[in-house]
Each structure stands twice: as C-alpha cells, then as structure tokens.
Symmetry: C2
C-alpha cells in the first residue's frame, strides 16, 4: 500500500514537473499595456410590455477583445487570434496540461496579441431574442437556432486525438493526460443565432484590423477561413492571414482571389488528416480544398503558403495544435513566417 502511494506521488511529480520547470525558466513578463474592449455592436429593440425582459433595447453583434502589448510591441505587427467551434479564447491561453499557450508565447516574443471571443460566444454574449420568443410561444420550438454542443466523443475524433473514441494515436502530440481539462473548454456554440453566416464576426475582425492600424488575423477551425472572409469585407487593416485547419471555401470567384492575393497568407495543417473513423469532420477533404485555395492564390500572384506539418517532418499533431506538446515549436514556425512574409525581416525568430 505504501509502495503504491509512493509510486502515485512519483507519477504526480513527474507529470507536473515540466509545467513547473517551464514557468521557472520563463521568468517575469513585463507588459507595456493590457486590457479589453469591444468592437462593433448595434442596438436591437426587443420584447413586449409585461413580459421579461420587457420592451427596450439590447446591444447585439459586439465582439469582446482582450489584449496585451509587450514592451517592444510597437516594433511588430499585432496578432489577432480567433478560436474555433464550441470553444472560446481559452484556446490560446494556458494549455490543458498547464504550459503557456500561444497568446503568452507570442507576447514573450514581443508581439502584441489580441484575443477575440467570436460574436455570439463567451464574453461577447449572444442574441437571445429567438430563445425568448420560443419561451413565450411566439416562435415555434423547431425554429430554434441550432446550438452546437460537442460531446467528448465528437471532440475526440474531430480534434484527432486518435483513430476512434478511446484510442490514441501512438505519436499523438495532444497532452492526453489532461484531456478532461480540455473538455471543460468546450462550450455551446450559438453561431446559428447570427444567421446563415457568422458575418458579424467577419465584420468586427476587419474593423479590429483597421482600429489597430494593421494586424495579422489568425483563425482556427470554424474561424480558420474568417481572416479571408474579413479581408473580403474590408482588407484595409489586414497585413497577414493565418488560417489553421479548416475547409477552404471552394466558391471564391477570381475577383475575390485577386483581392485576397494581395495579403500574405499562411495555411497550416497537422497530422493524421485521413486517419480518423466516424468523425463528423473530413480533414482530408478540408486539406484538399485548402491546397486548391493556396494554388489559386499563388497563380494570382499571391504570397501564399501551405504549411503541412508532416511534410516538415513534424508528426502527430492534432487539430488543437496550439495546445499540443510541441506548441512552442509550432508557434516559432508561425512567428518565423510572420517575420519573413509580413514584416520582411531577415533571420526569423530572434
């Protein structure tokens, strides 16, 4: 019994040791400025007298943004990070196993970082009027916007933790010992309240680029193609686009491709794209659609790159690659790309 306790304690120490070691190694972080604000938002009149919430105005379509500017931040182009389906900006923060996420990593590499909760998610709030209408009987229940509520089983296969639920790829890079912490990040997705397209988020992302006087937009999964959609709304503030693991829209016209091709673009995919059974996402097909997109961008004279990690010899990355065990290494790849293609610096990461 005592041996078992000691072994358990040893295992616990070994498991948490890497996170502690990294925190100590990293040392203090000095911030020039930090805070949060909203982009966009408009008034909407709701309700009936005597029925909660009563007649009046609410604000909808605003996008919550949280930021940190490091001391040398004005030497670099700000990076806007937008999370995917059924997730929030937590995506970019402390990883499920307790390491720093991409947001702090980029800040420590002197980049101003802006985390946006998609319109209708998390601290951005959502437009609840259709739900309130159903509750008081003025809208049919089957007209309720579809709330996406990803189960652990759906997450396991969509995020490519293994070939099927409960099985892990031998070279899996996701920190599976902390998968229960990851499940806590999965929250209901109310994008369907925005209409057939999450256009409000595209608009606010474009507006944020303008507000920042130029920014790199980064999207992941559900939001992976949002940088491009934002650039079609208004390219004025978009200095670079980073699209991670999503279907690329095959319906882009040549005129749209020509507009996008003016902006340096990085598309990034991990491993095991065709190795999962029974997933509701088809990553092999998404990868193919994005290869076509990158080819069209190049033919239109654009600076576009498909970064397929296995082609670089980097194996086992999941769909949540910004949280994978090699997340620092992948962040360095992205920062090097920014230096070379957006900021036109020599030598990559300093």
């Amino acid at each position: 019994m005592r041996h078992r306790v000691i072994i358990t304690l040893l295992a616990a120490v070994l498991l948490v040791a890497p996170a502690i070691a990294q925190t100590k190694k990293l040392g203090p972080l000095t911030i020039k400025e930090q805070g949060s604000f909203f982009v966009g938002g408009e008034n909407k009149t709701i309700g009936q007298v005597g029925v909660p919430p009563g007649t009046g105005e609410i604000t909808v379509n605003q996008m919550y943004v949280q930021y940190q500017i490091p001391m040398k931040g004005d030497q670099h182009v700000p990076v806007v990070m937008v999370h995917g389906c059924c997730l929030s900006s937590k995506t970019w923060e402390t990883t499920p196993d307790g390491r720093i996420g991409w947001s702090e990593y980029f800040v420590r590499k002197d980049r101003p970082v802006y985390l946006a909760d998609q319109v209708s998610r998390a601290r951005s709030g959502f437009d609840a009027t259709s739900l309130l209408d159903i509750r008081r009987g003025t809208l049919a229940p089957d007209k309720m916007p579809m709330i996406l509520d990803a189960t652990h089983q759906v997450g396991w296969t969509v995020f490519r933790f293994g070939p099927k639920y409960g099985e892990v790829f031998p070279d899996e890079q996701f920190p599976m010992q902390a998968v229960d912490e990851f499940y806590k990040q999965m929250i209901p997705d109310l994008n369907s309240t925005l209409g057939p397209q999450p256009r409000a988020t595209w608009q606010q992302m474009a507006a944020l680029g303008v507000k920042l006087n130029g920014a790199i937009l980064m999207g992941h999964s559900e939001s992976g193609f949002f940088p491009e959609q934002a650039a079609l709304v208004n390219p004025a503030g978009i200095k670079g686009m980073i699209s991670i693991e999503m279907p690329c829209d095959p319906g882009m016209t040549d005129a749209q491709i020509a507009q996008l091709a003016k902006i340096p673009t990085l598309v990034m995919f991990g491993d095991h794209l065709g190795d999962v059974q029974g997933s509701i996402a088809n990553w092999a097909q998404s990868f193919a659609s994005c290869n076509t997109f990158v080819d069209r961008m190049k033919k239109a004279g654009g600076d576009a790159e498909m970064m397929h990690l296995p082609a670089l010899g980097i194996k086992g990355n999941s769909h949540m690659l910004m949280q994978d065990k090699n997340s620092d290494q992948l962040a360095d790849l992205v920062i090097s790309w920014i230096d070379k293609h957006v900021e036109k610096r020599k030598g990559g990461v300093k």
Copy 2:
C-alpha cells in the same frame, strides 16, 4: 464649419486625455505568472442517436478562472473577483471609458487577482441540454429556463445611472459618456439553467479558495452574497469576504451566522439607493437587509463592516462602482480594509 470641427476635436482630446495620461503615468507592469484554468466540472450524458449533438458526454458546471500574480504577490492574500447578473469578468477589466479596472489596479498593488466567469456564463459555458430538448420537442417551450436579458432601460435604473431612463444624477460617478460601451458588457444570464440556486458557482468558489490555499472572495450584485454562500459550502479556503451591493439573505440561521462570523467581512454600497423610480431592483431594501446581516455578524463576534460610501462623504456612486470615475479611490478603500482586517497589516495601502 471649421470652428465646429476644431471644437469637436478639442472635446475629443479632452475626453480621452485622462485615460491616456493615466496609462502613461502607470508605466510597465511586471507579472510573475499569469494564465487561466477551470475549477470543478462533471460529466453529463446527453442526446439521442441520430439527433445532434448525438449521444455522449459533455462537461457541465465548470468555472473558468483567469489570473495574474504580480512579483510581490506571495506577500498578499489572493483576491477572487466574481461579476454580477448579465455581465462577465469584463466587469473588472478596462472601464467603459478606457481606464484600468479593479483587476489590474489590484495587481499593481501587489495582489494576485483571479477573475471567475460564473458557472453558466461566458467562458465557463452553460448546460444547453434543456434548450436542445425543447428544439427536438421532448420538453415544452414554457419549461425553458428563464434567460435574463437586461435591456438598456433596465440597466440604466438597476445600475442607478439616474432617477429614470434618460436622466442622469447631477453627481453621477458612472462615466456616462461611455454608457454605450457598458451596454456591450451586458450579456444573457443563464443562471436559471443551474436550478433554483446557482449552487455550482458557490461550490467552485469555495473550491478555488482551497486550491489557492486561502483567498478573499469578492462578489457583486447577483454574486454579492456568493462569498457567504461559498463559505457555507466550505469555509476552509476563505480568508475574507467582500460583498458589493446585493440583497443579503434574511433567512440565515444563527448557526450559519456563527460559521460566517469567523471570516472578516466587508459589505459595500454606493449612493442614491432610494432615488430611482421604476427599477426592478430595490436597493434601499437590499441595503436594509445587509445592515441587519452585518449587525447579526457583529453580535456573533464577527469582524463585519458596512461601508456605505455616502457615510464616508463619497457621493454619486452607481451600482457599477468598480467602473465609476472614482474607481481607483474605492479600490484603495477595499485594499486598506484587506490590509487591516484580513492581512492585519498596519498603515493600509503602501
């Protein structure tokens, strides 16, 4: 025309000048450690085969917490801040008019700060199963949990910006020029999905105190009495309770009061408690109930204080006093109280 443009520009400069001046004066901020994590959360089986989201497990009742520990943080007791109804942790961040909020102010005063999104709100997510059941017809629409969606009109009176919607108190401390930015913080409140009481949040707050090896819990409005409720769940990790503007539960038993009276307690109220017409909140009644609560705590031997700001000569504070123009001054009052009553230091704020 030109004169008008110049006057408008001058007005704009004067309006933004205080925020800019403060940022410059404050200077860089050095953080020892920062990040985010979840407290609690349990599995729940949902759904039917073939109907989205399908059969499987989701995680519910987790509480998202974001934190910063300053360099001298280990010399002080951590402060956990929990927002009120129809709001998120944005409450404690950058104010609507662009000044730093209490979270950064406390960090700059060497306090570790933990911001929690209430269970069922913002980045904590919510349990959408009853909504999904209504959509597929297995639950009646009138059984939908009541979603609280505060209108601007409700906010104006509940938050005491003036005697009625559209009118501002002459001495109002809320930065009314930025009220539209405040409205963007108001998001749907899904606490009713937690059952008759938001007990899950009380449990996670108590657990967070234990995890931090002792913390001061601070609540506001809807969550104002949550520190006390958390202390009734488990007082082990609660070193102080700060309750801002809420009704105090008149149903506490003597045994409960005796348990709470072991923990130093500050209750705080602003101005104009009885000066608003047609509000759904009765702040004068709430104030009376909390005076009774503080008296009972004192009679039970507790260190409890009612800090009514007008009694200190501080006038015009709204319900959102942590965002009012004198928010720094009010933060200093709270920090002095912590020093004297929780940390037992002499001299208050250093």
